[in-house]
């Protein structure tokens, strides 16, 4: 089961995990990642962060990424919730849940999902610092490196 949602509202992690695991007694492992808005940007206090996305493409791309993880790691379920709109420090941004019979697949699936989401899913962050400056966040080279490791020959 793969499920993807883009929403402005916050998510309820426990309810999402319950939904991703109920009625499936084959699941022994649930790996979850939550991304949050931090309070500072390069040492300057953050006022708010606005997340823009590409409606239509976002859902397509996240579903593609979820299917790839589902098949590669033989996951039981995948759940992705990504928020858009204006967020403030401490707010949740994204929730990724990967479930599997055993923990290594759940962990790998969850990390794979985040690495691809970070580099392929059409979201853009604009940060406004407390000094009133707004700027689009630059993509990080390290995210590309993290994603590309999944293309390498398997280490285990």
């Amino acid at each position: 089961m793969i499920s993807v949602t883009i929403q402005t509202a916050d998510f309820d992690t426990s309810a999402e995990i319950d939904s991703a695991t109920k009625d499936n007694l084959g699941i022994g492992a649930v790996a979850t990642f939550i991304g949050k808005v931090r309070g500072e940007v390069d040492g300057r206090p953050l006022q708010s962060m606005t997340l823009e996305h590409y409606p239509g493409m976002t859902e397509t791309e996240l579903t593609t990424i979820a299917k790839a993880a589902y098949e590669r790691f033989q996951l039981s379920t995948v759940r992705i919730v990504h928020r858009v709109g204006e967020l403030t420090p401490g707010n949740n941004i994204v929730l990724v849940i990967a479930t599997a019979p055993h923990r290594q697949d759940a962990f790998d699936g969850c990390a794979f999902l985040m690495d691809y989401l970070k580099t392929r899913a059409p979201f853009w962050k604009k940060e406004v610092t407390k000094d009133g400056k707004g700027q689009w966040v630059d993509a990080r080279q390290s995210d590309d490196v993290a994603r590309d490791r999944w293309d390498e020959p398997q280490q285990r």
Binding site: Y54, M57, L117, K118, T119, P122, F123, W124, D138
Partner: protein, 93 residues
């Protein structure tokens, strides 16, 4: 009119993040001249449409493209696409 199967194409163009801000709109429907084959051709043509486009597409290397919601290259052929999206490298998650 040249004897070709290409017609003048109506196409939706969508702009995101700072590309949207520089162009000043989030989307528009344009009729593309038949000689536009690739996304590169389209970008070159858009840059002739005004200083806001010139500014938005000043550095083609940092522009990412999706054709009908699928990631594409600037060298990709547009074909019969209905929608082209232009955006910077993504920064979600």
């Amino acid at each position: 009119m040249p004897a070709t199967t290409s017609q003048n194409r109506q196409m939706t163009l969508r702009y995101f993040a700072w590309i949207r801000e520089r162009i000043g709109r989030s989307e528009e429907v344009l009729t593309l001249p038949t000689q536009i084959v690739t996304v590169d051709d389209l970008i070159a043509w858009l840059r002739t449409r005004g200083p806001e486009y010139e500014l938005a597409f000043a550095k083609p290397d940092v522009i990412r493209i999706a054709i009908d919601h699928i990631h594409a290259q600037s060298s990709s052929q547009i074909g019969t696409a209905r929608e082209i999206g232009f955006f910077p490298p993504v920064t979600g998650g």
